[in-house]
């Protein structure tokens, strides 16, 4: 909290149903651990998205390119994150005690120089081949895990998430004796215990090389603490429980570069619950279960610019603002040196006693003490209380007020929550019902009425892989209060269309249906994409001119496909326009 929020924000009543943590403020550390081996350097056939000009793809290139791809956006969207790339199985070693392991990019907040180096490695074959020389004797997985852990532990900063992305195509490492397994498992378990999450990305290149995780890695990575296995979803809100999901163990084909890229993209955000609260199904707390809430849909926007200042030592640094009431002497020069430093460095500023708070009313301020303001914000218990059920058709789609929350059960506080939730979920879908509830989601949020809608699981083939494209669970959709609803803009003129024009309009729109529904992954935000692209061009001194502009415009899927519309409904549209004119003329005559 900076000084500004310490003053202004502490008693604001414009409480969103939930004050969500700013994801960009939650620093994560990601370490890519990429295997270098003969099999990782095996030449692959070019996939549908590979350029003919580039060197033939190898699993290693695929892995590094995917990592670079993620980095390009993350360095802009989450500039405080630490990211590193570790290669294991290289001829070169950083540390003689750990032969075969080298850092392509040290685990740190990346900078321009590091990005340029990485880019060069990917672009120049010489650089690439130089670093991609496989060791004659690859390091054991135990050492790889240990070294990775060491990299995380040696960072002084605190990270909300520490994650290791393990990329390999060797399903049975040379060192795989029972002792090796136990040793590796112990290391993996150490990482999990200290909150470092291991995300496996296993590469499979059939028919030559098929990755079978049961040969080795299942033994190693599924050894999460048994407690969490028995107790179910134990992930606590404060300290995320690191677990390897069953789905992530499934190998990824190297045929198409998009497979790995999209996997990385979808798994880069740690799955994090915003709240874990009781949900009352039968009134009077007679049937209560535990649910966790997630934000699946949230607007992502361009990060603001920072103010920077060129200091005396010629280094430009970020300047942080501090706001204080005029006349208060937080930064006064009279204070002794030590205190001054402390105050200026201190994130929060204590409120001087002469400053009071109140509400503006009739030109004056109606004063309240801090205790009274806190009292005003007491809104009752936290949780979701189901009031009853309604036909899902009654969901008012013209009354959306904010993005939804996703609910999924957890056995954390109530044993039997999952089966109860599952039964409710099943019936809501079967009967096409939604729940109506009164909800207060966190201590900071005000209560709301909401509709809770069940969503069924949908599994589909994406890039040749069976993927869950819709998670099973329920969505909490806020209902507006009467305070939030404005008048409908009633039509001054009511000109209902005739059946003839309606019929032709129907013909037009039916020809323009999107078969896959609205799939957000198809539509990238052109503002963000442009921002990433130009910022990167500026940082890495890449060209950005007309050619790039044209390329970006081509990638912008938010612009309708005019040619296709012309081909499908061009003739019909003309006809429709003529009919509307005609009908208009006729009505004018009638009037």
């Amino acid at each position: 909290m900076d000084s500004e929020t310490a003053f202004e924000g502490s008693f604001e009543f414009d409480v969103d149903p939930l004050v969500e943590p700013n994801y960009t403020n939650l620093k994560s550390a990601i370490l890519f651990c990429v295997e270098v081996s003969k099999s990782m350097l095996m030449e692959l056939e070019r996939g549908p998205h590979d350029s003919e000009e580039d060197a033939p793809p190898t699993p290693l290139r695929r892995a590094l390119a995917a990592a670079y791809n993620i980095l390009q956006e993350r360095i802009i969207s989450d500039p405080s994150d630490a990211i590193g790339i570790m290669l294991f199985g290289t001829e070169y070693s950083d540390d003689a005690r750990y032969p075969g392991i080298s850092m392509l990019m040290d685990l740190d907040v990346p900078d321009i120089a590091g990005m340029k180096r990485l880019k060069d490695v990917l672009e120049y074959d010489e650089d690439f081949l130089d670093l991609a020389k496989p060791a004659s004797e690859p390091p054991s997985i135990r050492d790889v895990l240990f070294y990775a852990g060491h990299k995380f532990y040696s960072k002084n900063e605190k990270f909300a998430y520490r994650r290791m992305f393990l990329m390999t195509n060797t399903d049975l490492p040379p060192a795989h004796s029972p002792q090796d397994r136990i040793a590796a498992r112990t290391r993996a378990s150490d990482l999990l215990e200290t909150g470092i999450q291991i995300e496996p990305f296993f590469l499979s290149s059939p028919p030559k090389l098929i990755f079978d995780s049961s040969k080795f890695y299942e033994d190693i990575l599924f050894l999460m603490p048994l407690k969490s296995r028995l107790g179910g979803d134990q992930s606590s809100l404060k300290r995320p429980r690191a677990e390897v999901s069953e789905a992530s163990m499934q190998p990824l084909l190297t045929t198409d570069r998009l497979i790995l890229e999209s996997q990385l993209k979808s798994r880069q955000a740690p799955q994090r619950a915003l709240f874990s609260i009781p949900m009352e199904i039968v009134e009077g707390k007679r049937l209560v279960i535990n649910v966790k809430g997630y934000a699946l849909f949230r607007r992502q926007s361009v990060l603001r610019t920072e103010f920077v200042y060129k200091c005396d030592d010629d280094v430009t640094r970020i300047a942080r603002s501090k706001r204080k009431p005029v006349g208060e002497d937080f930064f006064s020069d009279d204070e002794d040196e030590k205190n001054k430093k402390k105050k200026a460095d201190d994130a929060t500023v204590t409120k001087p006693s002469s400053v009071k708070r109140g509400f503006l009313f009739g030109g004056e301020i109606i004063s309240f003490t801090d205790e009274e303001l806190t009292q005003l914000r007491e809104f009752g218990e936290i949780g979701i209380k189901i009031i009853g059920f309604k036909s899902a058709n009654l969901l008012p789609i013209n009354m959306t007020s904010r993005p939804s929350y996703f609910l999924y059960p957890s056995e954390e506080d109530y044993v039997g929550s999952i089966r109860t939730f599952a039964a409710l979920h099943k019936i809501m879908l079967e009967q096409n019902q939604m729940a109506v509830a009164w909800a207060r989601l966190t201590a900071n949020s005000s209560p709301m009425l909401c509709n809770i809608v069940a969503a069924d699981e949908i599994v589909a083939t994406v890039n040749g892989r069976r993927e869950q494209v819709q998670a099973p669970g329920m969505h909490v959709i806020r209902m507006p209060f009467v305070d939030d609803v404005r008048d409908k803009p009633y039509n001054a003129r009511y000109y209902p269309s005739s059946s003839v024009t309606t019929a032709i309009a129907s013909e037009i729109i039916n020809k323009l249906t999107l078969k896959s529904g609205y799939d957000p992954s198809r539509y990238k935000n052109p503002i963000l994409q442009r921002h990433y692209r130009i910022l990167q061009a500026k940082a890495l001194e890449e060209p950005f001119g007309e050619e790039e502009e044209a390329e970006m415009a081509k990638e912008d899927k938010t612009v309708p496909m005019y040619n296709s519309i012309h081909n499908k409904v061009g003739r019909l549209s003309k006809e429709w326009k003529r009919l509307v004119e005609e009908e208009m003329d006729r009505r004018e005559l009638e009037d």
Binding site: I112, G114, G358, F361, Q433, A505, T513
Partner: protein, 725 residues
């Protein structure tokens, strides 16, 4: 019907009866309160809302009828009438005078004529507004117990009509029912006056003048309700809705309709607090705070700086803050650790350029509509009111076609240059009482690819083991019996249509949707509004509670709860959800009673809390027999015992894993442990834990070939079956 225009001017004159007869207590609903006391909160809340709005063009005047003074210099019939507040923007200082003005006089001859009061109010309004455009209101509040001159009512109605004034009369202490029923408290004068008021309203209605006559019953229940600031809907986009390349080569065939966008849902934000400084005691008004902002950069502490660093500090802070003059600041984007600055003209190139537009990309079936994807408050797209109404007709054609085909549109929307979003356009046709017709497209933003978090969750229909086995029976999955019980409950608790709190038939005219959307007041806003008003009247007023009447709808209707009680009880029984006490609380308890506890318990605790840090391989053998033996001896509550059991399972599980890892373990040893666990699970009737555990175990033992036969042995011995059902 014309849309309300934002920023219109408004006058409201309150004609308040404060004469001696108002000191009487006539109403059952407000027993013990004088009529005057009963209506005060109403007046405070109406005027208070106007003060709170801070609108400079919302003028309030107050006429007192039955005041000691007769400040109005007019002819006879205007005795004891005074203008307490001329028309003006009401401020806190004015508001605070109200309590002292709304007090009945001590002598019974002090009373006034409300009709005279009305005439004064009309004159005030007319003088103030002249010929300018105003919304004009007059509110009369009285218990009708003073004599009044009703002789010129026809003329008065005509003037009200001519001036365009909306008149509302609120009676306290008498209502329509009092005319027929015997009520000792009602005087003949009250009856007579009230009847005349009714006659006045009726006659005016015949002359097409709408006058509201309300009694206290009408508003009593609404007193808790906050006053909602009605904000006129503002057009936030005026442009074209297009289909096809209307700017390019297919211009002649592209569809383009003139439309406007109006906000429909907009979160009403409660007032925010202001920080101010209290001046010395003698100064009357607090002074709002002025703020200043300073900028600091953190630099590495220079080594040679006076050498005065203290030990502790050196460790803690190796950086110092240096103030950066605001004029020397530049803007930059962060690129990891690096900073990227642009020249002013380069910032332009960063900007995405796009002209305002609303372009349809395609259509999607409504059955595929995912309401949880919607990102923003809903707006309406309607045709502009052009002449001729081609756009209305064209849009109507599209709306009806979409409705008929069950489709909604996906469109690219640029409300102002360079700010594109994806939106859903859903047809909405609404015909209110056969009169006000509405056709429009509901517009709400959809997520971009970057806005979606791709979280995965396990199926709720099956349980998949680590080894990939798919189970359809598991304690995490509901049984058929549970599902049936839930079906009954969900059906019974249907609140789609209720009458008197119970499900109503389709044809029942009384039937209404319970908790219909957009009909409830926000209790939080209401409470803040109330707290401010209370304190404006009385600076010592306490913080009000959340109004119960406003949160009534946060509960299922009580009748319905009673009606479904058997079904609910069955559901609760079948699902058998158990609350787990938090581990922390158990520990906390141990701390308090630690010394007195039995030795056996302490041993168990030691076992259960065994250090997790130790390597699994080296972990000492967990004596499950002993742990369970101790557990049996425990004299603790069931709840607590159950929690301990969970811990035993956990530790036992870890222990058996270790056994499996050891080269020396025999299959019989493992089976022995499993048998033991089963026994104890059966005693506790803890099928779920046992099954879960066993599934894990079978998965685990598959890890190495040595245990390949174990699963078969477990099956053979019937250890897979929990039994006892």
């Amino acid at each position: 019907m014309a849309r309300p225009r934002p920023g219109s001017k408004e006058t409201t004159v309150f004609v308040l009866d404060v004469g001696y007869p108002m000191a009487a207590s006539n109403m059952a609903v407000a027993e013990g309160q004088s009529d005057l006391e009963a209506f005060r909160p109403y007046v405070y809340s109406l005027i208070g809302a106007k003060v709170a709005s801070g609108r400079k063009t919302d003028y309030v005047g107050v006429v007192g009828v039955g005041t000691e003074e007769s400040a109005v210099e007019l002819d006879e019939g205007y005795e004891h009438i005074s203008v307490l507040h001329p028309l003006k923007q009401f401020l806190l200082s004015d508001f605070r005078t109200l309590p002292s003005q709304l007090i009945p006089p001590s002598t019974d001859d002090v009373q006034g004529d409300i009709i005279s009061g009305l005439l004064i109010a009309l004159k005030m309004t007319g003088d103030f507004c002249q010929h300018k455009k105003f919304i004009k209101n007059i509110e009369i509040v009285s218990n009708c117990n003073s004599s009044a001159d009703f002789s010129d009512m026809e003329e008065i109605a005509a003037k009200i009509a001519k001036d365009g004034v909306s008149l509302r009369i609120l009676t306290v202490g008498i209502g329509p029912d009092d005319l027929n029923q015997k009520n000792d408290k009602i005087t003949a004068l009250q009856r007579d006056n009230y009847a005349k008021l009714q006659e006045f309203v009726r006659a005016a209605k015949e002359a097409n003048v709408e006058i509201q006559l309300l009694d206290y019953e009408d508003i009593y229940r609404k007193l808790d309700q906050p006053t909602i600031k009605k904000t006129a809907s503002v057009s936030t986009y005026r442009g074209l809705l297009t289909l096809g390349d209307y700017n390019g080569k297919f211009e002649d065939e592209a569809i383009a309709i003139d439309v406007q966008r109006f906000l429909y849902i907009q979160r009403a934000v409660p007032p925010s607090t202001k920080a101010y400084r209290e001046e010395a005691e003698d100064s009357a008004k607090p002074r709002a705070l002025e703020w200043e902002t300073k900028y600091f950069v953190r630099m590495k502490e220079e080594e040679d700086e006076d050498g005065e660093k203290e030990e502790g500090e050196k460790e803690e802070k190796k950086k110092k803050a240096v103030e950066a003059p605001k004029g020397d600041l530049k803007k930059a984007y962060r690129y990891g650790r690096s900073l990227v600055t642009f020249e002013d003209d380069e910032y332009e190139s960063l900007r995405y350029t796009a002209d305002p537009c609303l372009e349809i990309i395609g259509f999607v079936t409504l059955s595929d509509f995912k309401p949880w994807m919607l990102m923003s408050p809903s707006s309406f797209i309607v045709a502009t009111e052009n002449d001729p109404a081609v756009s209305a007709l064209a849009l109507s054609s599209l709306i009806h076609a979409m409705k008929k085909s069950g489709l909604y549109a996906i469109a690219r929307f640029v409300p102002r240059s360079g700010d594109p979003r994806m939106v859903a356009l859903v047809p909405d046709i609404d015909i209110v009482d056969g009169q006000r017709k509405f056709e429009g497209l509901v517009q709400t933003e959809l997520p971009f690819a970057e806005d979606v978090r791709d979280y995965r969750f396990s199926s709720l229909k099956t349980v998949r083991t680590i080894k990939g086995k798919v189970l359809t029976k598991h304690h995490r999955l509901p049984t058929d019996e549970m599902v049936d019980a839930m079906r009954q409950y969900v059906k019974a608790m249907d609140i789609s249509r209720l009458a008197d709190g119970l499900p109503a038939a389709e044809e029942d005219p009384e039937g209404q949707e319970y908790v219909a959307p957009g009909k409830q007041y926000n209790p939080v806003n209401a409470r803040i509004q109330r707290a401010i008003l209370d304190r404006a009247i009385d600076p010592k007023a306490p913080i009000p509670k959340l109004s119960e009447s406003l949160v009534e709808d946060s509960q299922p209707p009580p009748y319905l709860v009673d009606a479904v009680s058997d079904i609910a009880r069955h559901l609760i029984e079948v699902l058998n959800v158990k609350k787990v006490e938090k581990r922390e609380s158990l520990k906390a308890k141990d701390h308090g009673e630690g010394v007195k506890r039995k030795a056996a318990e302490l041993d168990l605790e030691a076992l259960l809390e065994g250090s997790r840090k130790r390597s699994r391989v080296e972990e000492e053998r967990f004596d499950i027999v002993r742990a369970i033996g101790e557990w049996n001896k425990l004299e603790v509550e069931v709840r607590e015992a159950q929690e301990k059991l969970v811990q035993i399972f956990t530790r036992a599980g870890e222990y058996i894993m270790n056994l499996l890892e050891s080269e020396e373990t025999t299959a019989e040893e493992v089976l022995g442990e499993v048998r033991l666990l089963k026994t104890v699970a059966q005693e506790m009737d803890e099928k779920g834990w046992y099954e879960e555990y066993l599934t894990r175990l079978v998965d685990a033992q598959g890890m190495s070939g040595r245990w390949a036969g174990l699963e078969a042995e477990i099956e053979a011995e019937g250890l897979r079956e929990f039994g006892g059902e």
